[in-house]
Subunit: 416 residues, 3 copies
């Protein structure tokens, strides 16, 4: 009898752990989604540079998360309710790696690798906003510190049992804790770098179209694909009702986001704008992420629709502010993240004014910390190593100046 | 004791539901497969248009399936054996979303989202056949009605317990119920639109080559990848013997389809035709879909081989009929779907003349309904809004006329 | 009570089998990874040829593995400790396909399809090294015999219970048994074919850059993605501690491989070389494969780092030897495979001089057999059908001479 009970528990554990493994793989492939999207929405003379960054960043993210990030984000019980904690360098599994301190449904190794796949996202989001003009080496330094230190500390505040968790803030899978963290870094970088040459001329906004819409589309579909793991894995078990509800809310918000951006951009520009629809899908996904476990079907559709519509409005707004974000990363991840986090106070099981206050506090505290961290770091790099390539390099493209190669050497491109 | 029994049942449910979640994700990514394949096999001046359609269609498919499709396809017991039923607007889960009315192996939400991912496929198949000349807005109206109404009604006839199910018709994962439904719509659209300008000139068939074979290849591999969920998920549980057999029959049919098309096209054209081999893989996949749960290894190879060979023959046939299908969608999905559905009467556990009659009845009834639905709908659009862009727009490409942008603005293309 | 016990066992079996199904799908998509990587790293005039080969090879691999490969690789008990065995033509499941002879955790069908997805890899690796100059038909004959006969025999020596297994050789997921098998074939082919026209001129190495870095990057990410199934599935069950450890070691080795290649190539070439970083990821993955189940975190990082660094050194070495390998397949799969296999004797649970000897014996025996098999086979083809296209065909590109089509007909390419 006891033996059977043990066997049942082992199998249950195996099933939950299995889902988390699959979710890990799905979050991993989001890095290819980001790479494809960012490369597709920028010029072909900077494609190698973008692919290089987006290959090195997840690699760096995994290594730093193993070294310090995981220990900063989940420092353990002593730091509950606090702002900062550190469980020591490196990974410290039990003898067999079976014991996760925080989640009874999976192993220590699963805990690390699932969380580790999220980490690099913070820098990948920044990468899009600073594309086509940032120095590679400075960006790699920024990314390492932002992913290795800033992201896990902000994450600890909520998911690691820190003060935001203690104060009722709720962010299911990271509208704020992941996407806005990236978005604030993106905003700081875009401000300090300044716009790309020729983007704002004589009071007009000059479009600099992305070089490959198929690549951008592949990127968005891969991100949606990976989001099933990002949100679905954030259930932290294979609980059937919870995971399947998350799939429904996530998918419907993405779908509604496409329509939100489609209709808004058609109303504003009188054309069927593919890049807006693609970013609208992402806006819907970012927005539903904070409450994907507790929204009804109509609420999910509404949150996603607004998330998609807001992307269009925000893209126009930041362009008016002359904050140049080549791929719309700030509009998608920061604006969408704020909206989604607020929506948890307005819709779903937790709706209410107390929750709105908690949500605003979380948005504000994370915003102040991350924006300040990113701004100071970028500023320090600016006055030391420099963060912007020189005019000629920017004109010629970063692929030549930083990488000495072309992304498409066989094809004739329009002269730059 | 009772407690352990409950625990075992919960874990079994979790495992089955988990597989259905994974299958859902796999079917989702087929939409990227369709987008890539269709974009790759058409001209670069229409690429944005294709990507736009293939992003909006799955979004629309999920939303309409939530609103009416799911209720039309699975109206519940009262409509058993019938032609039509409707369970009411929107989704109606039980209190916890745990109870699926039709499948004890997973939740209501899983039921909806797995089925919902299939729905848009019907319109995506049509999209390929009408590419490069259809008006975007008319196509979106067609798609919404075809996916929201026609597809779920035909689906109800078999999977929703309707009259085809009652009469012994068998279609495991949708050779007829999904692929032919799409194929009939594609045929109606291609006929009513007429061929692309310059395709048939002075009695000759002029090739209009696709602009990116890598994109087309990515599409086919993603479709094969997703088919593990399409067919494997149609087991409707994680039953080990059933799912693994489906993986084997599906993969061997796809492999044999590649060789069927390779050999047939070599015999006919004396060259190693990549686009035929790619479509041959799909022809094999479509063909095995109706009986993937009950074929032996040699039967799977045979069904797939013939499916692949038929694609080549059908492509030539439709060109002779001057029915212009830029990506071969009718040959793959309609011809392959009919062949695969018939094969259930010829091979496998159900083989026999009675089954052949049932299969023919299903093929015929679905064909008459869907072709008529699509024809009337396209015809109504033709005489009202119009369905075809004007000559100049077609010449210049739909990317400019419908979307005001280029898919590859950095590259020099051959003049059009 | 007995009934519950049976139910628990069935559910456990379902969970293990489910993971192996997912792993099968992941290994499948590696074929798209190989196709994308190889196409991206070669010239656009040979892209259709590469896509054609990499579509036909997995199809052929599945069919030959069903016909003879599986029976050669897992011939059953009578051949234990031996060099060769054969269980008969075709597949022979029990009545319900539930019984796998070798693995209690999954079905016969799962056993076949998981192993079958690996098989074609051996030829796909060769494909990269012989690209841009080999005759299609000769390569298909080579691939069929190499995948159908050579690979499963070498595989039987270790995984089928043959003499290497009996002598303590250890290769967890195939650094030697899969990657080096492919690598030896690649070396034999590259030697017998000779370098591409113009590659080595007047004592200088002329770079022939790949035509699409996005395609190459997509390929590497898909390979990493698939490697979670390649290594994770090699646990042969969903054992939570084992699979999750494998995910961690595999990911960290890949990440470290990126840095190993980044730093080494920067030191050698003073530039940030994307193709080296991409191959470095693969070098790290190949290297960890032999011991992914038993390395610590620092060991995994070290093995991956060296694997990535070795790729850079090996690419330079083979170029100096005038062995022309367009995609670096020999450096990644042969050199990385040897290093990873040796590392099992140096690090991890089995470290020790006895193990080093066993590892060297395995590396040597597999190397002698596979290199000889490939060399004799390529040589026979060379003196009969010929293996190299003529100069004009090579100059014009294989897409035209072998396939009568272009990969990118809409784009203007630099004159060849």
């Amino acid at each position: 009898m006891e033996e059977i009970k043990v066997a049942v528990e082992a199998t249950t554990f195996t099933a939950h752990n299995l889902w988390m493994m699959v979710a890990t793989i799905l979050v991993f492939i989001m890095h290819l989604g980001f790479a494809s999207l960012e490369a597709g929405l920028t010029q072909s003379k900077n494609t190698v540079n973008i692919l290089f960054k987006n290959t090195i960043i997840p690699a760096m993210g995994l290594l730093t998360y193993a070294l310090v990030g995981f220990s900063l984000m989940y420092p353990g019980g002593d730091f509950e309710g606090g702002f900062f904690g550190f469980a020591g360098l490196g990974l410290n599994p039990g003898a067999d790696g079976m014991t996760s301190k925080y989640n009874p449904a999976y192993t220590y190794w699963t805990d690390f690798i699932f969380q580790g796949m999220f980490a690099a996202t913070a820098a990948t989001i920044v990468s899009g906003a600073v594309a086509e003009r940032i120095k590679l080496f400075s960006f790699l330094i920024f990314s390492t510190l932002y992913v290795g230190i800033c992201y896990p500390i902000a994450g600890m505040w909520h998911w690691g049992g820190g003060f935001l968790a203690a104060n009722g803030f709720y962010d299911f899978a990271g509208s704020t804790i992941v996407h806005s963290v990236g978005g604030w870094g993106a905003l700081a970088g875009a401000i300090l770098l300044g716009p790309r040459a020729g983007k704002y001329r004589k009071g007009r906004i000059m479009p600099i179209p992305g070089h490959s819409m198929p690549l951008a589309t592949v990127g968005v579909f891969l991100l949606w694909f990976g989001w099933f793991g990002f949100n679905g894995g954030s259930v932290l078990s294979a609980d059937p009702a919870a995971v399947s509800l998350v799939f429904v809310t996530t998918s419907l918000a993405a779908a509604a986001g496409a329509f939100g951006a489609f209709i808004t951009s058609y109303a504003m520009f009188k054309t069927n704008d593919l890049s807006m629809v693609l970013n609208g899908v992402l806006g819907g996904l970012v927005a539903i992420t904070a409450g994907a476990d507790q929204m009804t079907v109509p609420e999910s559709v509404g949150i996603g629709f607004v998330g998609g519509a807001l992307v269009v409005v925000a893209v126009v707004f930041f362009d008016r502010m002359k904050i140049d974000d080549p791929v719309g990363a700030i509009s998608v991840h920061l604006v969408g993240g704020i909206w989604g986090t607020l929506a948890v106070g307005i819709f779903g099981a937790k709706a209410g004014s107390t929750q709105v206050v908690s949500q605003l506090m979380g948005i504000g505290m994370v915003g102040v910390f991350c924006f300040a961290f990113a701004f100071i770091l970028f500023y320090t790099l600016k006055v030391t190593l420099g963060i912007r390539v020189d005019e000629e390099e920017e004109h010629e493209g970063l692929d030549v100046s930083e990488h000495d190669m072309h992304a498409y050497p066989d094809f004739v491109t329009t002269s730059k």
